[in-house]
């Protein structure tokens, strides 16, 4: 069995109607003012869930998002033929996590940005379990799109979560484990469902990549 313990845990589940400008007002005290102006909705939510999270240069961060920087992508696409340099680099995965870490001037050893959808939560957790760093931040999130949402190529909701995984059980709030070759019932949650599960402290079990996964609350 491979296991880690969850310490810092934060989830952002804003109302579906929240826009970036509203999030900027709501979360203003968490960011330096110069950085705040340039942050995207997803970046603001990720910054909020990582607020107070202990990260050091030798740590790692796993970042899961299927749609990633949707609003920046929308803005960049509509900026043609005078393509916007600001929206171009902001649209590139993993911009949502990078804008937070750059704002903090927080180097890290390894950043693992995942961009799939099927079994994304399982893959993010597996990446974290294989990471030798003492602390691994598992971060996920999406931001609600506008015209791309109307075309069903963007998330309908905005959310983010962050969990710091370590090998230390003392003081932990939850336990994540993968047992190769073991059997379990259930299916891997979607990224959005996983955020809800973390917020409501729901116990999870599922089967995937030839083994059993569990999330248990301590």
């Amino acid at each position: 069995m491979t296991e880690r313990f969850i310490h810092h845990l934060r989830v952002e589940l804003p109302p579906a109607t929240e826009r970036a400008a509203e999030a900027r007002l709501r979360l203003a005290d968490k960011f330096p003012r110069p950085a705040l102006r340039r942050m995207t909705h997803l970046g603001l939510l990720i910054g909020s869930v990582l607020d107070g999270a202990p990260l050091a240069p030798e740590d790692a961060l796993v970042y899961a998002s299927s749609f990633a920087e949707t609003r920046a992508l929308e803005e960049f696409l509509t900026s043609f033929p005078a393509a916007s340099p600001l929206w171009f680099h902001a649209s590139i995965h993993p911009g949502g996590a990078q804008q937070v870490l750059i704002g903090r001037q927080q180097p890290i050893a390894r950043l693992w940005p995942l961009a799939g959808r099927t079994r994304l939560v399982e893959q993010a957790l597996l990446t974290a379990l294989l990471e030798p760093a003492a602390r691994v931040a598992v971060v996920g999130g999406e931001e609600r799109g506008t015209w791309m949402l109307e075309r069903r190529v963007a998330s309908a909701t905005s959310f983010a979560f962050a969990a710091i995984l370590t090998r230390q059980p003392a003081g932990a709030v939850a336990h994540v484990a993968f047992s190769p070759d073991a059997q379990s019932e259930g299916v891997c949650p979607t990224l959005q469902d996983f955020a809800q599960d973390l917020a409501s402290r729901r116990t999870l079990n599922w089967h995937g990549i030839g083994g059993a996964w569990s999330l248990a609350w301590l």
């Binding site: 696409l77 340099p85 995965h93 050893a109 799939g116 990446t127």
Partner: protein, 375 residues
């Protein structure tokens, strides 16, 4: 700064790539001949715009179905058969672009069919269906160090005994989306890139590229012996001016070489500041190691460059069909004076070396390096 390297050696069972020159062997032969795949092309494809250096497999405008799918099928024919995407034979797809050019095509002609393969997961779903992969397919996207992440993660899966073989599959095709983006950053200019050269104006080129590697725990003639990664988080599009990010990654990978005589395939896009920092740091860390870049010929193949250039390195070491066995291409497009005297403009003989350091860099000050060893 602290960046420790993974030393989880894995065998390279199979590895190839596709560039405008063809396979890895054909590409190595072309590089040894000093040929450039880059040519001046309109930055927005059929929508026109400034002429910029692009190395393309064909017109870059998106089609239905996507033009890159047939190219990927062509390359994938060389992948050893297996139950790819099953629990013990995972696939790791790495790319920075995926099918994002399709979103640009949609904004231009409003055909909703383009939207079906614009997101990374939709692009991968298309590949899964075409290549009959199972659902154990992991997708990484970290701009221009993405392929390194896929290779490093594959080594971790193998050493944790969570896989028997891993297929790492990477592709990035230039589209008006990405060419327009780099042009807006004013680093894709109307001049050819000259990696590591001291000149007035820097410029990069962009290129189509795809590659794959099948990795295994078995000993093979070529081993990926170590990986180092580091993320500066100093600026989105710039590095720490003291080169500390390059130094952290270079020191971490240097600690894994164990006295091997190495050459360095650098990132070397043709930008001035990053090129100078890179050349100076590697000259300090590996003073006797020649430094080469191939992006002056192939352009920057973005998230796939790490795997494309790994395939070319292995092909060059194996020897090409032209009989130039063991000749390593020099810095095509480079010209004296260079930032350091370690920059190799001419080809090298591999007989002097038993290892290679292959590096890539990305937005956010991301650094990646791997150690390729061979008998």
């Amino acid at each position: 700064m602290n960046a420790l390297a993974d030393q989880l050696s894995v065998g390279v069972e199979a590895c190839d790539c596709l560039t405008p020159f063809g396979s890895a062997a054909a590409t190595a032969t072309a590089l040894l001949a000093g040929r450039r795949a880059l040519a001046f092309s309109p930055v927005l494809g059929r929508d026109g715009g400034d002429l910029v250096p692009l190395a393309l497999l064909g017109p870059m405008d998106e089609t239905l179905p996507p033009h890159w799918l047939a190219r990927l099928k062509e390359m994938a024919a060389a992948i050893p058969p297996a139950a790819w995407g099953s629990a013990r034979s995972p696939v790791i797809v790495t790319s920075s672009n995926f099918g994002v050019g399709s979103f640009y095509a949609f904004t231009r002609d409003h055909d909703p069919r383009h939207l079906a393969h614009g997101t990374p997961f939709a692009t991968v779903d298309l590949l899964r269906a075409d290549f009959d992969w199972g659902e154990n397919v992991q997708v990484f996207s970290h701009a221009c160090v993405t392929a390194h992440l896929g290779l490093a993660h594959a080594a971790r899966l193998l050493h944790a005994d969570l896989a028997d073989r891993v297929l790492v599959f990477s592709f990035d095709f230039v589209s008006p989306f990405v060419a327009g983006g780099f042009h807006s950053l004013k680093i894709l200019n109307g001049i050819m890139p000259a990696p590591y050269s001291v000149r007035e104006t820097g410029s990069i080129g962009l290129g189509d590229g795809a590659a794959f590697a099948v990795l295994t725990r078995d000993a093979t003639p070529f081993q990926l012996a170590a990986h180092a990664l580091h993320n500066e988080m100093f600026h989105f599009t710039g590095n720490r001016p003291d080169g500390a990010g390059f130094a952290a990654c270079a020191a971490a990978i240097a600690a894994t070489t164990g006295g091997r005589r190495v050459w360095v395939k650098g990132h070397g896009t043709g930008t001035l500041e990053a090129g100078r920092l890179e050349a100076e740091v590697f000259a300090r860390q590996f003073p006797s190691a020649p430094l080469v870049s191939w992006k002056g010929s192939l352009g920057h193949t973005l998230g796939s460059c790490g795997l494309v250039e790994l395939a070319i390195a292995i092909a060059a070491l194996r020897g090409s069909s032209a009989g130039a066995a063991g000749k390593i291409p020099g810095t095509v497009g480079g010209a004296a004076p260079s930032f350091t005297d370690t920059v190799a403009l001419e080809s090298l003989s591999s007989a002097e070396f038993d290892g290679a350091i292959l590096t890539s860099n990305a937005f956010g000050g991301a650094h990646a390096a791997m150690l390729l060893t061979h008998d």
